[in-house]
């Protein structure tokens, strides 16, 4: 196995290098924040990043599956918005909250399944199919209602306001626990099951996977279904967070999710990457927002510029790594 020598760490397998780079970046940012601002270097700051980005984490997990097969899913932001919208509307009509959650998750999975089926059976590029899915989901949002609908169901409010104490004045929201559970399950599926192997194989080389007799079609359809399901679940977490359904929720979230996956070291051509990297990617994005809000004088649009810069650096790094490993 190819290895790279990193001072102080010793030799590590090359495939872990991108994740390590992201981890180091996260630690450096956290340390820099701790030195620069008072009250920054506490455990709660990291937990707050989780609390504020639980929905993004879930969405990014789904996106990781898709990108690992070499595809892309542009519809996630719209599906998140649609989920908040459907949930808010059904709750307003007095439906049971658990039934609502079930229906929303089902809608997300079915949308993903549909897109995956079109991508596989009709051999249309994922980019354009999920673009259509994006239009469809946003259009459906606005067809339901153009205004924001607030949620006052007691179960949803309960999810929003419950604090789970972790001791030492630290707490998390139930959404974080759900997100962490999703990450753990996804990591198990991706790294320890036959399906996970198929995902990597399909992304590595679809042709080879096909010749090896792997169920490429089923895998591809499944990853889009997973992404749709994760988006719907992310939508649920967002509606716990916002306590409203709105067609303009989560505009541009697909970009944040893709950025998190890329910063986490997953190759956009597919086949290489880890779920842990995606978690780190989401944490880095969240920490940027935290630092900018601590800085106070920097306006919110600097977030976008920093994310763009980070994307650039990491894509350049990916390029370097893949160029060197080919030699």
């Amino acid at each position: 196995m190819t290895t790279a020598t990193i001072p102080g760490v010793g030799r590590v397998p090359r495939k872990y290098v991108p994740v390590l780079v992201t981890a180091v970046l996260f630690l450096v940012m956290f340390a820099a924040g701790g030195i620069r601002y008072e009250d920054f270097a506490t455990g709660q700051i990291i937990l707050n990043v989780f609390i504020d980005n639980a929905f993004l984490l879930v969405v990014a997990v789904g996106m990781t599956f898709v990108i690992l097969t070499g595809g892309i899913d542009l519809s996630v932001g719209s599906v998140v918005a649609l989920s908040t919208m459907v949930a808010a509307t059904l709750l307003k009509h007095g439906w049971s909250p658990w039934l609502v959650i079930l229906i929303v998750l089902l809608i997300g999975a079915v949308l993903g399944l549909g897109m995956g089926a079109i991508i596989h059976y009709f051999e249309i590029q994922p980019f354009i199919v999920t673009l259509a899915g994006m239009f469809l989901a946003r259009g459906l949002c606005f067809t339901i209602d153009t205004e924001s609908i607030s949620i006052d169901n007691s179960t949803f409010v309960g999810f929003a306001q419950t604090r789970i104490d972790l001791g030492g004045e630290m707490w998390v929201s139930p959404s974080v626990l759900i997100a962490v559970a999703v990450v753990l399950v996804a990591a198990y599926i991706l790294h320890y099951t036959r399906f996970g192997r198929n995902v990597y194989a399909t992304g590595g080389s679809e042709q080879s996977a096909l010749l090896m007799g792997l169920p490429v079609g089923r895998t591809k359809i499944a990853v889009y279904t997973i992404s749709g399901f994760c988006s719907a679940l992310g939508g649920m977490l967002l509606s716990f967070y916002m306590l409203s359904g709105y067609g303009l929720h989560a505009v541009g979230m697909e970009l944040d999710a893709i950025a998190a996956v890329v910063i986490g070291g997953t190759l956009l051509t597919g086949g290489t990457g880890f779920l842990l990297g995606t978690v780190l990617g989401v944490l880095v994005l969240g920490l940027i927002q935290t630092i900018i809000s601590f800085e106070g004088t920097l306006s919110s649009w600097w977030t976008r510029i920093f994310i763009g810069l980070l994307l650039f650096v990491f894509i350049l790094l990916q390029r370097l790594f893949s160029a060197r490993s080919r030699q």
Binding site: I72, I118, Y121, F122, E123, I124, Q125, F127, I128, V129, L131, A132, G133, M134, F135, L136, R138, G139, L140, F142, T143, T146, G247, L255, I258, A259, V262, L268, T269, S299, S300, W301, W302, T303, R304, I305, I307, G308, L309, L311, F312, I315, L316, R319
Partner: protein, 352 residues
């Protein structure tokens, strides 16, 4: 079917034209005097003129996008370039002592366009120089660009009050809306450069197979740089039009989702996303279809927000029709009982 009719139906512009005509006829039912064009105060007025006028920015952006897609690339950053160019021009004009001075407005327009060129060259450098996938390379500017635009405007909406600047997007010249004239000039120049000179052939060959083109002695990198720069320039001009039409620059919302509309226009126009072949006239038709669709939805009285639903339907149908796999699976099976056509014929129709 007679051979002539078959050739007509198989023509690559047949479906776009048919959809456009269908949409226009639909309007005829819902809107009185839809096809009526009159001259008021020396300006042309009418619903058809409005479709052209409001569709002009999209036509420009889609034109640049066509060339990028022909090289089997894609440019996601056009929306951000639209916002940046409009923001920069409006910022400079708002700082002028006399906002109507032609020189000042020209300089503002010039600076905005030069910045657009630089942004395009940046995209081109990432794609051609470093070799990053186009989707990802332009994603960087798409994400950061909105931030840059807001940085320029300071997070505010900059309003200007300049009649000379208003001309670009909202003015008239020789009875025609000025925007239409700009589109016509850019289209003519592009058509001349790509169809009368070798550039079009080079673009198609790079899109068909970049490596083979390089071995054949074509400077693939220079070609790629050219198309990305051109695409950003088109987006820059479109940004000037959009901000000039409303006399203000909004870093957050100007040109939002125009990249998707532009890609949609290109795809409807019959340019394959796989690259290697493009049709400027098809793209123009595609952009007109999208604008007519928007106008139709307003005139029928359906809530305008549902435009996105219709767009989703149109993209899906067009892509399915263009997909060889879909044709083979759906049409082939249906035709077989009445005598299947030769396979070769199927292949010809794929290029539409």
């Amino acid at each position: 079917m007679t051979p002539n009719l078959t050739a007509f139906l198989r023509h690559r512009l047949f479906w776009p034209v048919a959809i456009l005509v269908g949409l226009l006829l639909l309007n005829l039912i819902f809107t009185d005097n839809f096809f009526h064009i009159e001259i008021k105060d020396g300006h042309l007025y009418g619903s058809l003129i409005d479709i052209f006028r409001f569709g002009a920015p999209l036509m420009l952006v889609a034109m640049g996008m066509t060339l990028v897609i022909a090289t089997s690339g894609i440019d996601l950053s056009v929306g951000s370039v639209v916002a940046i160019s409009g923001a920069l021009a409006c910022l400079q004009i708002s700082e002028l002592g006399d906002q109507n001075s032609t020189g000042g407005v020209l300089r503002a327009v010039g600076v905005a366009l030069v910045l657009s060129l630089i942004l395009g060259a940046w995209n081109g450098l990432l794609v051609a120089g470093i070799g990053i996938q186009p989707i990802i390379a332009t994603l960087i500017l798409m994400v950061a660009g909105r931030g840059l635009a807001q940085l320029i405007t300071g997070g505010q909406i900059i309003t200007v009050n300049s009649t000379s600047y208003k001309l670009i997007g909202g003015g008239y010249w020789l009875t025609l809306p000025f925007g239409i004239i700009i589109v016509a000039v850019v289209l003519l120049l592009t058509a001349l450069l790509t169809r009368r000179l070798a550039l079009g052939l080079l673009i198609e060959s790079v899109g068909g197979n970049a490596e083979a083109s390089r071995l054949a002695g074509i400077g693939s990198r220079a070609v790629l740089m050219t198309v990305y720069t051109f695409c950003a320039l088109c987006a820059g001009i479109a940004g000037l039009m959009i901000s000039s039409n409303v006399s203000s620059a909004d870093g957050n919302n100007a040109g939002l989702w125009i990249e998707l509309d532009a890609i949609l226009a290109v795809v409807i126009g019959g340019t394959s996303l796989a690259g290697g072949r493009f049709s400027l006239s098809g793209t123009m038709l595609g952009a007109l279809i999208i604008q007519t669709l928007t106008t139709t939805i307003y005139s029928i009285g359906v809530p305008p927000q549902t435009t996105l639903l219709f767009k989703a339907l149109v993209v899906t149908i067009v892509c399915l029709l263009q997909s060889p796999a879909f044709r083979a699976k759906v049409f082939h099976r249906r035709r077989r009982p009445t005598g299947a056509p030769p396979v070769a014929e199927e292949k010809v129709s794929v290029t539409a």
